[in-house]
């Protein structure tokens, strides 16, 4: 059902336990803690394997997330701001990750810069409710999207390499 590469990605991200969305006042805090734990470990694993590719943080309620993701293409690092809301039907429906700055540049996007996920992702998510969390949406949704779309956008000249700001906001 799932190819070896996907399974390998999955093994880096701990699964979640609590089935709760932002409207479940009692259980949502536990779910949110699990989301953070899972994300922290995923990011740490990425760093260890020299494949650090995103940062995320949320508002206090954990209903709105924002951060950055990076994509390396021909030795240049491209950075994009990402954002998404946790829908009321979460985790039954996956978060809709958006890259607003790319809105209008590719047809593989819905309004507001929401990335168009493959036919593969949503069924995969639906089959793994509630075990999949934000980390899985990043790894199986955003990751493959960037890998396909960014090189294409660069080749079309729609995404340009930005030198680091003068003050050296180095990461």
């Amino acid at each position: 059902m799932v190819d070896a590469a996907t399974r390998k990605t999955l093994s880096n991200i701990p699964l979640l336990k609590t089935k709760a969305g932002p409207r479940d006042k009692d259980l949502w805090p536990s779910r949110l803690k699990e989301e953070y734990q899972s994300l922290i470990q995923y990011v740490n694993n990425n760093k260890e394997s020299d494949n650090d590719w995103f940062r995320l943080e949320s508002n206090k309620d954990g209903t709105r997330w924002f951060g950055k993701c990076w994509h390396v293409h021909e030795l240049l690092k491209y950075e994009f701001e990402i954002e998404f809301d946790i829908p009321v039907t979460y985790p039954q429906t996956a978060p809709e990750i958006a890259i607003p700055e790319l809105d209008g540049k590719t047809a593989k996007m819905y309004r507001g810069g929401k990335i168009c996920l493959t036919d593969h992702f949503k069924p995969l998510w639906a089959k793994n409710v509630p075990k999949f969390g934000i980390g899985h949406a990043m790894a199986l949704g955003l990751g493959p999207w960037l890998a396909v779309e960014i090189p294409d956008l660069i080749s079309k000249g729609l995404v340009l390499y930005k030198e680091k700001e003068e003050n050296g906001a180095s990461k």
Partner: protein
Amino acid sequence: MATVDELKERIAQLEVELAKEREKTGGNVAGARKKIDQMSSEVVDSNPYSRLMALKRMGIVDNYERIRDFTVAVVGVGGVGSVTAEMLTRCGIGKLLLFDYDKVELANMNRLFFQPYQAGMSKVQAAEKTLRDINPDVQFETHNYNITTVDNFQHFMDRISHGNLKGDGSVDLVLSCVDNFEARMAINTACNELEQNWIESGVSENAVSGHIQLIKPGETACFACAPPLVVAENIDEKTLKREGVCAASLPTTMGVVAGLLVQNTLKYLLGFGSVTHYLGYSALQDFFPTMSMKPNPACDDSFCGKRQEEFQRKEALRPKTVEVVKEEEIVHESNDWGISLVDESSVDDLKTQPAPELASGLSYAYDKPDETTKDSDEVVADTDQSLDELMAQMKSL
């Protein structure tokens, strides 16, 4: 930079212009009509309801005027929703609630209803203006927001449960004309909680099939009871090019689906004909599968389960009229060879939950159980850290 005074002056100037413009178009100018208190069945050129009231005379609908007592919420005012709203407006519906967070774009012009000059306006606002001109008897309530976010969802539920004509009760029917799974699930959640009947509609991303589905919480399958249904199109998925696009759309398919949706709505509200539970449409084959689906006792939505129990309790109380069909027992006089009938289904066949029966030509978008993740996979460990600590840790990475 203009000074505050300059800006104030400019605002005053624009307000005068706006008032003039309103005077020109508002009120009773030629073209727009006055409100009509009572629907008349008089057949004259000036009566916008004469052909609708004729349905009564022809014995199709008992009491067409009742249409004015009904309130319908249309969620999603795009290719299907805008046409749906226009049809209901022309039919003289009592009140329409419109929900959408999108703006009109030139890329929408391959669909019906919206016009190029409306580009940039919010869809609900543009729709309300056009619809009011078509039929000033209809009441409108518009909401320009995304229903799936936590902040807006509560307000959405509140308007569904209090948005009728008098403002003291729920709307009569919710029509889902949205274009994504998340919004459908949000409507499903709201309607299961509120015990609100609704009709889901959809057009496939390749624009050549569509469906409508009536959902009565507890009585028919809800949207979360089973994976989404797919109408067979007999296209090999591999030959279907998805390169570089998310979705195609055709005004024809959207118009057909909007027509099916409003037809079913009229039959449901006015009580004529038979109301369909599911009707699919495949444009390539001219194929219209139809069926009924029972709710799934193991549905993920807890409110669906609750509604199912309530419905079964109600059904049990209803006096039963069971028709007993006597089947004649077949007696074989002799069976020298000891032949007997054996059930063909093996133990393995019965392992998975039997899916609700689907009409031929329909299938699920995917099978539910899956081996993607194994029980042995790593699960987050229990932690003593507080949420704040975790948030701080994440930030410091």
